[in-house]
Symmetry: D2
Subunit: 340 residues, 4 copies
């Protein structure tokens, strides 16, 4: 069986997903590429030998020859397009965020719960990154004792003009929130946001977040979207008997000019290209088997990331430690399995 | 267009290739798995949803529903099966070695030259390993000046009983010979083999090889098939202005028990799984386009690796520096392109 | 001129200082070793060929044949012994802390200011550690742009029974406070303390501190006195254009048992032995020249570290961000030089 | 007791030794600095507060107020000055080489044997480098099994004009020969020298040496005096169960401009400054105790390094593997202890 995929959105993320579906996956066909810009849709479709193009996402989702939907359109459209797919019973891989607000995330959850089945995988691809998986495996194998702290660093070369500390929390930090929840299997219950005063003007706006989990662990996150020196994601998990860190993954080391160096990429693609490939492969397999991909982020995970970001935004404004109040989790999202 | 592949050989390499064809590649179908052991063929076929099984490699190659042949059967069968495929005009990906002797390699070359077209890609997968590719790119970009030396280290955990220094040269070192030729775009013209006397008995038999290239460069290779500590492949290319080394690729670093450590794998698969995937992807693409995969090893490269190993074996026996005498290279293998 | 030194305290720190004075320094003599335990004093004196022993620290300080005093006695005695030495006009190297309370630190400052000269160097030895010095030099050379964040990790194998998060702040964190102040040339103006709830009982009590500086920078500190895996001090300074981290300093790397590892020491001595040697060498030189050692911690620095720790302790109790209110700094401690 | 030292030679090495004697050692006085250039002698003497200067090395050695002699004058003078000191019964620390020829080394050995006591320590300072010491300790502790191979890399930024592959063997490689003999406690019995033909003209002249030891081990050495990228000394010792490598010793790591880098020094001094200090400290201690410094190179070691270099030079000329024929070792140099 071949899964026929509609990719919604032909921007940088959509183009990359179209390429993965077309070139990197067994058992998937790139059926249609959809974008409000027909030119964009057509260019990405041609580059990746898609069957067809569309400028109407709802129509694309509804096509009879589309089995599954990969949503990589602008963030504001994620929730409504996801709901459309659920209504048709079609599986969705939705780029993060699942929705702009936790309320809209809950609407997706309600739609799944009404049917009693998960349709949505959220594109927190780090859950498929071999180094995060290895970190979690190291913890679960008992090699570092029980987890007590986790330190996370998220650095981009440069943010768009006007990107603020607030946006660092709502746009970038969710990847960190989800990675922490994935590795620790714990909820985040409070968040305290800090911003260096030195950088309030202009292009410089890192934030430091300190979080507590339901298991009594402490988490720190630095989000630095103007780190300048390179795309750099780091994490260290500290247990009672040891610690585990994401490794260095440089292909080569170069010695020249009194320096021994390894390269940073300019953006996330080289760092996480394997994670995206494995994520999308697991998604296709889950459609074939009918069982959600092990370890993947579901709608509940998408909701949590957004809800934590909302609490972080309030903390940044108030300067106070802020509780993360979550809705009650439906049994549909119980880790043990899916509901009937 | 989907390429229907016969995988010949269902041992450890054949099984891995069957999995890659079935699970990791777009545009390829695993049509038949062939092994002299029907049970092995059937097991690998089932694990990878192959269409059919066979115990007769020649029959498998001749099947109408087979477009291309991936040879991973015992080394002694490589040349004759490759010739069979060439006779039928079917493209071949042949695991190394292309043949047990340089004479048999030349027979394959003659078969291709008689037709005037390349059919054979040899499975020197390191040419698709991102770190070797990056090393070559670093050289070609002029970052280290002209190449003058290359140091190579090939270490396995443990060799089968009876594995000797001679076998290290004929079985393991060819990967190094080909990596050097790939990175440097130069021929190896002499070889001197050394063996530590301490280890002539029992399971311990590393060799050190010193080679000269057609461009006046010096190459060293250590092959240590009983290195015990892990599977470890290293290389450093030294230029007039700098040096470039293969990077460390550990997913995580673990701190415990007064030690900070990264893991070695027990065999080559984790180290080179991406290389195999990209190699096979490039092979499938070359079938679709009709153009040999850029950077891939062809029959000439397969011949050279075997011829160098033969000279190395003679050097180990004589204790003398030994010339590598190669046949004349047909224009079919000119780097610039393929003959008409 | 040879400086005749009295080492007060023959515990683990005092013994090490006695060894350094005796064996590692040109221009210094170990004149007397003093400890309330005569046996301890005698053992350390004999091991290091001291001229004499004493059990009375005040008498030892007053000896005519003692030119300078190195205080490594219990923390509660630091301030009064330092004041005794100042009264006599003898230079002091006082192990941290300068005093148990900021009030007592201020008494030392007042004594110096009354005379109008610095007599005291505080044993914040990291200011002489080549890696911290290199970090500061990298910042000052403009290689990473203006500093905006600094992350610090202080990990010990195991704390004594009963060691608490509070003690982590008052006993261990001052090394971090001083390192931050040294590297950044900035004051710490607020501190927020966090403790993982998971570890409130028994032997496990890390703390995470978030601090703001007078220059608007954000600082994080993890103090983890039961890190189990080894003695490990890390720091990363993040600037607007790059970052600089303390390097790994392993003498060797060992490959065995499917692992590539470097060793951690069990305590601080191997990590900082060079820092102590250079610190003490600089102290002896400052006595000879009469000019305080460049970069060394003075009484004001000792006061600041203690005052920050007091604010941190209050924050840990209140759960609130807490201001660090410092006394006014006398011109005697102006960075430009010493007062007349 | 204070050892009064004459430093013979006020060039780059002599100036550094004068500084170490003056500033870094307890129990030593810099009595006289001697150089044929009075200006040089005077400059170094003043910079390091020496008591006196001299332009006559023999007279300096004979001075009543000189207890011990540190020879850092031009290589051609080493043997005769060492003999002069032995004649007077004064201990010597002689920079490598002990003599320009193995014959002259043997003359020093004969002088010691005639008296029946060792007077000479040769300045192979790597025996005091913590990383080489740690490598040897790792081997002796059985952590890597019996040693079977050792790989050594010696790289300088730039050699003086006219420096040849021959000079790489006679001037630079002796440090490697001695390091191998120190770590392995084995003799080198054969040597094969290789030179990349690409670099025979001009400033580029690396050599690769392959050696066999008395214990049946294989050794490789690359000497690359025009490596351009930095001063870089590497070594890896391969045992039957594992391997140990010299560690990276960078004080800091800098992240900027899409690169993560550590610095190389431009010459040997930062890399080995601790080795020189510890070497000279051990030398002073050996004078006080009358027992040769443990692990230090003696006259026999100096002879061996020169004899191996001579064999290497012959191998480079002949292109053949060349035996290293050593004189018989006097019992005075038995590892177990010194003769009566
Ligand atoms: Mg994503
Ligand atoms: Mg292969
Ligand atoms: Mg201290
Ligand atoms: Mg030397």
């Amino acid at each position: 069986m071949t899964v026929r995929v509609a990719v919604i959105g032909a921007g940088i993320m959509g183009a990359d997903h179209a390429r993965i579906v077309s070139e990197e996956l067994a058992g998937a066909d790139l059926q249609v590429v959809c974008d409000v810009s027909e030119a964009s849709a057509r260019r990405v479709a041609e580059e990746n030998s898609a069957q067809d193009v569309s400028t109407d996402p709802v129509a694309a989702i509804r096509r009879k020859d589309v089995d599954a939907v990969l949503i990589a359109s602008p963030d504001a459209t994620h929730a409504s397009l996801t709901l459309e797919a659920i209504k048709l019973g079609k599986p969705v891989l939705c780029e993060k965020p699942l929705a702009l607000t936790s309320e809209d995330c809950l609407a997706v959850i309600e739609a799944e719960c009404a049917i009693g089945r998960q349709f949505v995988q959220v594109g927190f691809m780090r859950r498929f990154d071999p180094s995060y998986v290895d970190m979690k495996d190291t913890l679960c194998a008992g090699k570092i004792g029980g987890a007590i702290m986790m330190h996370n660093f998220h650095r981009n070369v440069e943010a768009p003009a006007g990107f603020s500390g607030l946006m660092a929390i709502t746009n970038s930090a969710p990847h960190e929130f989800d990675a922490v929840r994935y590795v620790l299997d714990a909820e985040i219950v409070s968040i305290s946001a800090f911003e260096p005063k030195r950088c309030t003007s202009g292009a410089c706006n890192p934030v430091v977040l300190v979080m507590e989990t339901s298991e009594g662990q402490l988490i720190t996150v630095e989000v630095n979207n103007n780190a300048a020196y390179g795309y750099d994601v780091r994490a260290e998990l500290v247990g009672k008997e040891g610690a585990v860190s994401l490794g260095g993954l440089a292909a080569v080391r170069v010695d020249r000019s009194l320096s021994s160096s390894v390269a940073y990429a300019a953006d996330w693609r080289p760092r996480f290209h394997e994670a995206y490939r494995l994520q999308n492969k697991a998604w296709i397999a889950s459609i074939t088997t009918g069982v959600p991909a092990a370890g993947a982020a579901n709608a509940w995970d998408g909701y949590c990331a957004t809800a934590i970001a909302e609490a972080g935004a309030r903390s940044l404004e108030s300067g106070e430690k802020t509780r993360v109040d979550l809705a009650e989790r439906s049994a549909l999202y119980d880790p043990a399995g899916t509901a009937a």
